[in-house]
Subunit: 424 residues, 2 copies
């Protein structure tokens, strides 16, 4: 198809009229489609429905003899730690299992650092100005933690192989206030980018002005491949240790998008010094996480291979939705020169870039036609996309037919907004 910008003014006006008609037809349907959040669909949750029923009344002992119904077990049941050890890439002794939410573990790790500092640091982060590097587009809940706690965010562009490392290296080398960096290193939210081995190595080895700099390695999509052959991600803990920066990375993960998003199990992994520090703090905050839910997960998945096998079932459900989004974009937007989009091999999102200055208008148009999208700007610190072009598409939750309809609506909105922008 011809690029919108290359159409004559009259052709573009004619096209706009046609688009208006399609848009109004959608509007007349009274659609109510929600593409805002990366929630698993009910069918995905059904895959783990046995989780709620498989613990016999008499089945409450961990392999260490502990009664999972009673107090204790600060860092998790051994068999649960073993599964996360493989998922997060660390020995079991370097894993701490938490409650149901890795977001909470990340948040609390930031809060502890603000109040108490971290191993290798000289004072609590909260005593002075603290900054984090945020690859963009990125995950809004990461940015919300920083904004809430007054941590200044420095955006760095995410490319196909990870963040712009020259820029990251320049920033961390020069500014000791930069204490952390958010990373979703595999199937990044929202672009689906997986960091290359070279990027992981540079992140592990780069010189930081702050001696207590931390990579917040949110490996949320560690096993969330859409295809037989998933992207491969280098082990950041190994890379950091090899570079002499053993305490640099803290790796987070959960079963939220494996078992139940509201009732899974979360964990973190890091160096022995960081793990000792985490336990020192968490021993004040809790007597221990819910071990019965850990036991349920262990009985259901059995081991890490069981997790992987289970994820193949998720992929069967998710893949058609991702492909429907990309098909719709290619059909409607291909060759039009008004948008680009990612084609992830896993994760939960597709990232759509419109012409500069069009994202908010697309979201507005789609909303008016009954298709809710994540707010424009949400994928940037402070909710502000400087080019107003990025839209996060979350195809997991609605049924496939709805995804198709919603994406057709979105594509029409992109074309409409673009034509207007270009002068229709």
């Amino acid at each position: 198809m011809t690029e919108l910008a290359k159409l004559s003014a009259s052709d573009r006006a004619a096209l706009s009229l046609e688009l208006e008609q399609r848009y109004n037809a959608f509007k007349a349907q009274g659609l109510k489609l929600d593409m805002t959040r990366g929630k698993p669909a009910p069918e995905q949750l059904d895959l783990a429905s046995k989780l709620t029923v498989l613990l016999a009344e008499s089945d409450y002992k961990g392999s260490d003899g502990s009664d999972a119904r009673n107090y204790g077990g600060l860092d998790g049941l051994p068999e649960m730690k073993a599964i996360f050890a493989e998922m997060l890439g660390a020995p079991p002794a370097q894993v701490v299992v938490g409650g149901a939410s890795s977001l909470t573990m990340m948040h609390d790790t930031v809060v502890r650092a603000l109040l108490h500092g971290v191993p290798g640091g000289t004072e609590p982060w909260g005593r002075s100005k603290t900054k984090f590097i945020c690859p963009v587009p990125g995950y809004d809940r990461h940015f919300a933690i920083c904004e809430h706690h007054g941590i200044e965010m420095l955006s760095v562009a995410l490319s196909d192989d990870g963040p712009d490392m020259a820029e990251v290296e320049r920033l961390v080398a020069s500014d000791p206030a930069i204490k952390g960096m958010w990373c979703v290193p595999k199937y990044s939210n929202p672009t689906g980018t997986t960091y290359s081995d070279a990027v992981v190595k540079r992140l592990a080895a780069m010189k930081t002005a702050a001696p207590d700099f931390r990579l917040f390695w949110d490996n949320a999509y560690a096993v969330h491949d859409l295809y037989e052959t998933g992207d491969s991600l280098a082990n950041v803990l190994t890379a950091c240790a090899e570079a002499g920066n053993a305490n640099r990375a803290i790796v987070f993960g959960s079963t939220s998008k494996i078992s139940f998003a509201g009732a899974g199990v979360a964990a973190l992994a890091s160096s022995p010094a960081n793990i000792a520090d985490v336990k020192k703090h968490s021993g004040i905050q809790t007597i221990g996480p819910d071990k019965l839910n850990q036991l349920r997960h262990v009985r259901f998945f059995k081991d890490f291979a069981g997790v992987i096998a289970h994820m193949h079932k998720h992929a069967e459900l998710l893949r058609p939705k991702f492909e429907a989004v990309i098909e719709a974009f290619e059909k409607e937007l291909g060759g039009r020169g008004v948008a680009t989009w990612t084609k992830p091999h896993g994760g939960y999102f597709i990232s759509l870039d419109t012409l500069d200055g069009c994202a908010a208008e697309v979201v507005r148009l789609a909303d008016a036609a009954g298709v809710k999208l994540t707010a424009a700007g949400a994928t940037f610190p402070y909710g502000k996309d400087p080019r107003d072009r990025n839209i996060r598409v979350a195809p997991s939750m609605p049924p496939l037919t709805q995804v198709r309809t919603a994406m057709e609506v979105v594509a029409v909105c992109v074309l409409l907004a673009s034509a207007k922008k270009l002068g229709a």
Copy 2:
């Protein structure tokens, strides 16, 4: 029996010899009894064993239509909030259901205040010196939160009807650095004291130099009566509102000692302003707590009346253990003038006061004879009992016969240490 102090030196020496023999006989038995922590016994946990199996695979919807397996529900399922509303004494809209641990909710409330302040305050608590009032003897995990976060603790004596209010009023009126006070208002840990209505009223109404003073009202034993007629506790939220200090109290509770200590449900209740503040912060920390576990609890207990009925079963198991402790103390220590002990109507602990300077020695002697007690001093801030006399006795976990034996050992140790102290 004759008071030890009134025995002649030679009689005391004879008694000591006899006690030594009894002590050595215990020692020879190779006992291994643990009376350290307030953990429910396995038989108590068995009372709720249906909890792990009663959710059918298809039973995952809350009354609000939400899928308990998926993300969301920041403040809890409506039906779970309704149960806690009655337990904590607040309208459901003023309840926030958290994860499994009320300790975590208390800790996080302190941390949020340190970093962000609270409604009615002018700055984050962490910006200046912060102090808490700690009724003593009290709960070691409360004190650990303060110590860990650098909050200075001011001990105030706990009497039969609650903390020494004249002293509390004097302190809070004069020192704006006093921002909080720990209270276990019903069946206090470890004395079993329940605050009188007059004390609750004074706590609610007292003038505080700090405009943002908070009562951390840990109502851990709200429904944990040992007898048909339990102690009654005034509603602190109502009292605070009536006194014009609506934001003063934050009430915490959980099902840890109702369902499962490691896998229960926790909640807090407070004024609308405090609840809005909690949600503002917790919305950054989590997408929501484990709703499936809430649903399990709702299905099992059905309503608050179901909780009360369940607690009668706990009482049947706990009462004999409490009575065994008190019997042993009365039999061995009654009339000896070397110790006093509480006779709680509920809760999880009995508090034993020895002669000044004897508690650590009793714990040491008991430990050497195979009976582990909570460390002497644990019931005081910084682990330091200025009179070295308080010992927390936790009779819930061991079987009844072991409780009997352990208490006989402890009583002998008290007599031994006292005789030594008095000059045997």
